[in-house]
């Protein structure tokens, strides 16, 4: 009581807000500060280290861009960076397509929906270490699927994706899709369920086939979900680390090296913290290519929402 009276008589603090209205900001502050440190301070520190002469431990002698020069002169890094884009493209599109297909199938009022859903969703619950280990058994030419099929009599059968340097990346893509398409399915299914039933009925009354209804009516109305799925998958793709470590360990040769593995190797195993940090900055740059437009889009959409009331 006394506090309120005091604030009413005094000139208003904090740009005219009552103390009570500061509660949200005070509650939010710790999370904000923590996130700010996590995102910005960590990134800026890494950027500085990338331009320092750090080797075994972080140190702060400025050397400019030389770490970036030696980074880009490195064959393994170039392979890793190319892999990131190649993998991301097929992995994201692949898991979206599979996820969408599964969601549409389940959406056809199938029996035992929860069973199907659980089956497709469970890989997401399992760690990449587990997934990678199991799939590396399946891909193993001596013990895995190839040996199994050959033992049935098809002796020419060849399925050794992970051990052929030209195809090993596909082993990772396939396993990645297997792991995460269930999540895409869940999001798409959620989207399909949220589509206004009246629009669908209207289309059906017009005599549109199921396929046509999906293509012309339902899918366009869940367009934002494609974006949401893509963003979630992109962050999985760029962070790809555990899966590759467990599946191919970057091999054969260095054919399946990924930026995250390169960063880890340089910063932690080889004691080249400066160049490792430079590689990390390049990872962030790849992220920015995706994220800056996305953030702008979000802000734009929010403004539009506000304008439209």
């Amino acid at each position: 009581m006394s506090l309120e009276r005091a604030s009413a008589t005094r000139p208003r603090l904090f740009g005219g807000r009552r103390l009570g209205e500061l509660v949200p900001i005070i509650v939010l502050a710790p999370s904000l500060i923590a996130s700010f440190i996590y995102v910005f301070v960590f990134s800026i520190w890494t950027l500085y280290i990338a331009m320092s002469n750090s080797s075994l431990l972080p140190s702060y002698g400025f050397v400019g861009l030389s770490n970036f020069e030696s980074l880009w002169a490195n064959r393994r890094w170039n392979i890793a960076y190319t892999n990131l884009f190649f993998f991301s493209g097929f992995y994201i599109v692949g898991s979206m397509l599979v996820g969408l297909l599964l969601a549409i199938l389940i959406d056809q009022k199938v029996r035992g929906e929860s069973v199907w859903r659980t089956i497709f969703l469970y890989p997401l619950a399992v760690s990449f270490i587990v997934t990678g280990t199991v799939w590396s058994w399946l891909y193993n030419p001596v013990d895995g699927i190839q040996a199994l099929v050959r033992s049935f009599g098809w002796t020419d059968f060849s399925f050794a994706l992970a051990s052929d340097r030209n195809y090993a990346i596909w082993a990772i893509i396939i396993t990645g899709i297997w792991q995460s398409s269930g999540f895409a399915m869940a999001l798409f299914l959620a989207g399909l369920r949220s589509v206004d039933g009246d629009i669908i009925r209207a289309a059906q009354i017009d005599g549109a086939s199921t396929f046509r209804t999906y293509r012309k009516v339902i899918l366009p109305s869940i367009a934002p979900i494609f974006l949401a799925v893509a963003v979630v998958q992109i962050q999985f793709a760029i962070k790809t680390f555990d899966l590759v470590v467990a599946l191919t360990r970057g091999g054969p040769g260095v054919s399946t090296t990924f930026p995250a593995i390169y960063v880890y190797d340089l910063m932690f195993q080889r004691g080249q913290i400066g160049e490792g940090a430079a590689a990390a900055i390049m990872m962030l740059a790849a992220l920015a290519v995706v994220l800056v437009p996305y953030s702008l889009f979000l802000v734009w959409r929010r403004n539009k929402e506000v304008r439209n009331g």
Binding site: L32, A125, V130, W137, L148, A186, A190, R193, M283
Partner: protein, 300 residues
């Protein structure tokens, strides 16, 4: 023109509709079954191997139906297999993981709920920009954060402890939980809040009396997400704990990364399953709500 052609086709289709429906159902179930097999077989391979004896695996390969069911590998994996020099199986690591995952999940979910509530219902100038900045945390690669975290944990005296890991997972998890909750709360009508405020309800009262009772679907989504994510994380677990405090993923890596002895696929399989059980349980129990929670707005 096109319309006429189309309607003629549709006439034909109406005639064959009933026969086609049968076919369509068969195709739907057929496709679902094919995919289900692809999804289930890797799990079955591990489950089978966990019950097969190592000599049998060595003889018949990794993919085969068990000739007899042996529970020995499970006992060994849980109780007395030697990992990291101590022969106590997975149980100690399992307990460590629970000790880390449960508090981190609860704290990050609660913080996410409050942040989401503020960012959707108590917007202030610049709150959208702040939200977007918090969102960026979702994308930070762990390898970048490793060294700064080491420094911070050392400064606050939490290095080599489970609490340090809890702190890391809470901070890294806030972005996700806030994102989920904010998007969900946006769909709660503002009128509800306005009415409550007119009745004199303050910040906390609205949160506890209106927002939280409406939250279970989204809280289940965030709990599932956080629980599985934290349980399965291994990089920080390996680096920021030592000795008897390491989480289960560290033990799994120790087991699956080939040591200098012949791989014990039976024990490895059982251990892998033990390590996967808690997140699987969470999914199996909460899977229904997961999709429902997403449906109700987590994905806006």
């Amino acid at each position: 023109m096109a319309d006429i052609a189309l309607s003629r086709v549709e006439d034909h289709e109406a005639v064959r509709a009933s026969r086609r429906r049968g076919w369509t159902r068969a195709v739907i179930y057929g496709l679902l079954t094919v995919f289900a097999l692809i999804y289930v077989i890797p799990l079955l391979v591990v489950v089978f191997n966990a019950f097969r004896a190592q000599p049998e695996i060595a003889r018949n390969g990794l993919i085969a139906f068990p000739q007899s069911f042996q529970p020995d590998a499970w006992v060994a994996a849980w109780d007395n297999y030697c990992i990291g020099g101590t022969c106590q199986g997975m149980k100690r690591y399992f307990y460590n993981s629970l000790l880390m995952t449960i508090p981190a999940t609860i704290i990050s979910t609660l913080l996410g709920a409050m942040n989401g509530y503020i960012l959707s219902k108590w917007r202030f100038k610049g709150s959208d920009v702040l939200f977007t900045c918090m969102l960026l945390g979702v994308f930070m690669p762990g390898q970048i954060a490793l060294m700064p975290w080491a420094f911070i944990l050392g400064k606050v005296g939490l290095s080599n402890s489970v609490y340090g890991l809890v702190l890391i997972h809470v901070v890294q998890g806030i972005s996700f939980t806030t994102l989920f909750c904010r998007n969900y709360y946006v769909s709660i009508p503002d009128d509800l809040i306005k009415a409550a405020r007119i009745d004199g309800a303050g910040f906390w009262r609205i949160f506890f009396k209106i927002i939280l009772p409406l939250s279970p679907p989204i809280l289940i989504v965030t709990v599932i997400w956080q629980f599985t994510g934290i349980w399965n994380e291994y990089l920080f677990g390996v680096v920021f704990t030592s000795g008897t405090q390491q989480p289960i993923t560290a033990a799994l890596v120790a087991l699956t990364a080939s040591g200098t002895t012949a791989s014990a696929y039976d024990v490895m399989s059982a251990a892998v399953l033990i390590g996967a059980i808690p997140p699987l349980l969470v999914y199996f129990l909460g899977g229904k709500y997961f999709v429902r929670g997403l449906t109700q707005g987590a994905i806006k």
